[in-house]
């Protein structure tokens, strides 16, 4: 079962992810971190996740810093990291891309948006 690390400070968003994944019958080993510090603690241990879903604005250590540490660490550098964005944060997206983000996933607000998220997550866990 593919392991996904979800790094997200907002509890509602984490609950939505869990709910949507289970509703779509996506079987993954979902690990959750509430900020960058927790994320790095989890990544310090094996097994490494197939995909990291990373929020940018978090207390303590933010997503930019986490991404930078991942890319600078030989063991973690190859991780597939997708940035979770609320839309309309172009400057953030440019910054994250420059730091080596593999892709962006817009957190959906309206109807139906979650379907695409699931498809993309499944594709990025690529077996």
């Amino acid at each position: 079962m593919a392991r996904i690390l979800l790094v997200e400070d907002n509890e509602d968003d984490r609950a939505l992810f869990r709910m949507v994944l289970s509703r779509h019958g996506v079987e993954v080993d979902l690990v959750e971190a509430r900020d960058g510090v927790e994320a790095l603690e989890i990544l310090a241990k094996d097994p490494l996740p197939a995909l990291v879903l990373l929020d940018l604005h978090m207390p303590r250590l933010d997503g930019f810093a986490v991404l930078k540490k991942i890319r600078a660490d030989e063991r973690l550098a190859g991780l597939n990291v997708m940035i979770l964005t609320s839309s309309d944060e172009n400057a953030d997206m440019r910054r994250a891309r420059a730091r080596g983000a593999n892709g962006f996933l817009s957190k959906p607000t309206g109807f139906g948006g979650w379907d695409e998220v699931i498809v993309r997550i499944a594709r990025n866990c690529g077996d």
Partner: protein
């Protein structure tokens, strides 16, 4: 130019004393030697640099003020005498003050210096410059704050919205004991969340216009309009709207922003002619003024001011959709270009929007509007 009129006897010299300029008359002992400049006469204006001018009379300038020999001043006076022409010297910085010096040839090897102390006005200018720099810095900071605000709005306001729409969707779909009315209410909640999300988007678009770095280039607005009309026709193939456009509308504008202007104005014309039997949109260009006229529902001119306010609308949601942000964005873009826009219309008789993206003075002598 000779002086005009008549003076009482012996008043000319007295008048010179009242002038707020130093007037010093020199004579060259040797008309080939710049340093032989001798002070012969001075008016009463006291030198602000602390030089006691009367004590200079009869002495060589470079003897009493030796550091002047290092400047171009004596040589400029010499050139003035030799060429018998008036010379404006470059700004002279001397003993912490700033002077403007004009050399005026008199007779033979005689020359007059008209010396104006501009230290005070110069420091005012520097003060103004500092103020401008400070204001620019404040503006930059405000923009950065605005950007941070926009980002935080986008991030923080959307999170609860996601929860609202996501969980209610889940509730409606899994039918946790909801009857038909319960599901209907859930749909209304989701509609509200969706609309609020769209409003946040619109607010951010509006703030982005202000932050956009403008780069003027030559743009063909007609080409931008044709692209949009083609897209609208593709979206709504069932509609027939007759659109008349000039061959080309060349303006100096930021292409990205000008596209937003024509998009919003033409979309409005397209939208508000929806119920019109023979819908028409007519675009004309005259004296730099672009006029977009439609024969749609129009508006009551009494409420025309409302058109430009963000989120203010003149039609109810169920007649025409929209957030009421388009024209507020258009107005901002036009203002950022130093241009002008106005709307005219009447209920049931169409609307006309006329705009220019350049300040009027650049568009010739016949500005409309």
């Amino acid at each position: 130019m000779p002086a005009i009129g008549t003076l009482p006897p012996n008043t000319a010299l007295r008048l010179l004393d009242e002038v707020h300029e130093h007037v010093i008359v020199y004579r060259f002992d040797d008309p080939e030697d710049a340093l032989s400049l001798r002070v012969m006469w001075a008016n009463r204006e006291v030198s602000p640099s602390g030089v006691d001018v009367p004590s200079l009379i009869g002495r060589r300038l470079v003897e009493v003020l030796p550091d002047l020999a290092e400047t171009t001043v004596p040589y400029a006076y010499l050139a003035c005498v030799q060429n018998q022409e008036r010379i404006e010297l470059p700004e002279l910085h001397y003993q912490g003050r700033v002077f403007l010096v004009t050399a005026v040839p008199l007779e033979g090897s005689w020359v007059a210096g008209l010396i104006r102390d501009i230290t005070a006005s110069r420091s005012t200018e520097e003060h103004m410059q500092a103020r401008v720099t400070q204001a620019t810095e404040e503006l930059r900071r405000t923009n950065a704050e605005l950007e941070a605000f926009a980002s935080s709005v986008s991030h923080d306001l959307r999170a609860p919205l996601r929860a609202l729409s996501g969980f209610s969707q889940y509730l409606a779909e899994t039918q946790h004991g909801l009857d038909d009315e319960g599901r209907y209410l859930m749909t209304r909640i989701q509609g509200g969340a969706t609309r609020m999300n769209a409003l946040i988007d619109a607010l951010l678009r509006l703030s982005r216009i202000q932050r956009h770095e403008m780069a003027r280039r030559s743009v063909d607005l007609a080409a931008q309009m044709r692209e949009l009309i083609a897209a609208l026709e593709e979206q709504e193939p069932e509609r027939t709207v007759r659109v008349d456009l000039p061959e080309s509308i060349r303006v100096e504008a930021d292409p990205e922003l000008s596209r937003i202007v024509v998009t919003n104005l033409l979309r409005n014309a397209w939208k508000f002619t929806r119920g019109t039997p023979r819908a028409r949109i007519n675009v004309t260009l005259k004296d730099g003024l672009v006029r977009i006229k439609d024969n749609g529902v129009g508006f009551d001119p009494e409420y025309a001011e409302q058109l430009w306010k963000p989120f203010a609308r003149l039609h109810s949601d169920d007649t025409f959709d929209g957030l009421g942000i388009g024209l507020a964005i258009v107005l901002r873009i036009v203002r950022r270009h130093g241009g002008h826009i106005e709307a005219s219309g009447a209920p049931g008789r169409g609307a006309t929007f006329a705009f220019r993206l350049n300040p009027e003075s650049q568009d010739g002598a016949n500005p409309a509007g």
